[in-house]
Amino acid sequence: MTSHELDNALLEEQHFPHEHTHPGARTYIEIAAVLAVITIVEVGIFYLPDLHEAFRPFLLPAFLILSSIKFVLVVGFYMHLKFDDPFFLRLFGFALVIAMTVVTALIALFHGLYF
């Protein structure tokens, strides 16, 4: 057995006490249904001009909230951050905060052009 094969064998046999059981197929399909509904709501507004006009002032926050929900669902359930060790969440969250700070700062600087 090569050292690479030994490494793989050891990897397979390790146990990581902080990791919990992942959800099953049923939960994954339910999450997908929620994601699909949110996407339909987001896009549906473009097919209804009257509704689009009526809700125009609220579209920006609505889009941000809806996409945030989709983001959290994918990260939490599909990427298993809800079930894995909190350290992974902190690692990801730290990078995300930096990225969002950069985006927010530039939006604040150039908001007159974007919004």
């Binding site: 057995m1 050292s3 030994l6 793989n8 064998a9 050891l10 990897l11 397979e12 390790q14 146990h15 990581f16 006490p17 902080h18 992942h22 099953g24 197929a25 994954y28 399909i29 997908a32 699909a36 996407t39 987001e42 896009v43 507004i45 473009f46 689009h52 125009r56 579209l59 889009f63 941000l64 809806l66 996409s67 989709k70 983001f71 994918v74 990260v75 599909y78 990427m79 894995d84 060790d85 350290f87 992974f88 690692l91 990801f92 730290f94 990078a95 995300l96 930096i98 990225a99 969002m100 950069v102 985006v103 700062a105 530039l106 939006i107 600087l109 150039f110 052009l113 974007y114 919004f115």
Partner: protein, 224 residues
């Protein structure tokens, strides 16, 4: 010849495996002492999450550049170029591919090789459909709408951002097809489901980036 591999340490003990050999089998190949990593976390997943964190910053910078520059210069802008109904189909395809990806992982963890292969190839196929849509979109924008990399700030930042994302989808599709070929040849047992899980993390990351791009780049500018 005896071979010993020592992992870990750092005050948490050590992981040692004795391998007796002469190239034959049954010569004392036994795991003497196995335990988790010194952090108690899976180091392969740790690597992947660190990589994903760095990718967040990359795409954060690209999105920020788009947001900052989209209003400058002459030429077509988001309202003249984008076709939300068409792009929404692409977004939907990528969302569904995330579902097929987790179903592949679930099948692998249950030891169901047939379903694993089906979901892996379905995920890669959906990724390729997304890429085909992006190619069509880019061509339409360039030929019919006159928007390209050198047209204005909108063109430069939009095609750079979505092009980078498309490149990531391409890498993901190649990765998934490689896993699929591997599963055809040797199979991926439940004990090796980590390989599928890590590929899945990458694929879902590509999906969440598109969730943000779809909202910030497509929906918000065209809805105002």
């Amino acid at each position: 010849m005896a071979q010993a591999i020592v992992h870990g340490g750092g005050g948490h003990g050590e992981l040692t495996r004795q391998h007796g050999g002469d190239g034959g089998e049954g010569h004392g190949d036994e795991l003497e002492h196995a335990h988790p990593t010194s952090t108690g976390l899976n180091s392969v997943k740790m690597l992947m999450w660190t990589f994903i964190g760095s990718e967040c910053m990359l795409f954060g910078s690209l999105i920020a550049t788009y947001v900052a520059d989209v209003g400058f210069g002459k030429g077509p802008g988001p309202k003249q170029v984008f076709e939300i109904p068409y792009t929404s189909v692409s977004a939907f395809v990528l969302l569904i591919s995330s579902l097929t990806m987790v179903l592949a992982l679930a099948a692998c963890q249950q030891g169901n090789q047939r379903q694993l292969r089906i979901w892996l190839v379905a995920t890669a196929a959906l990724g390729l459909v997304f890429l085909g849509g992006q190619y069509f979109e880019f061509t339409t924008f360039k030929v019919e709408k006159g928007a390209w990399l050198d047209t204005n700030f909108f063109g430069s930042t939009f095609f750079t951002l979505t092009g980078f994302h498309g490149a990531h989808v391409t890498v993901g599709a190649i990765w998934l097809l490689s896993l699929w070929l591997y599963s055809l040849r040797k199979g991926i047992p439940a004990s090796k489901s980590l390989f599928v899980e890590v590929a899945g993390l990458y694929w879902h990351f590509v999906d969440i980036v598109w969730i943000v791009i779809f909202t910030v780049v497509y929906l918000i500018p065209t809805s105002r």
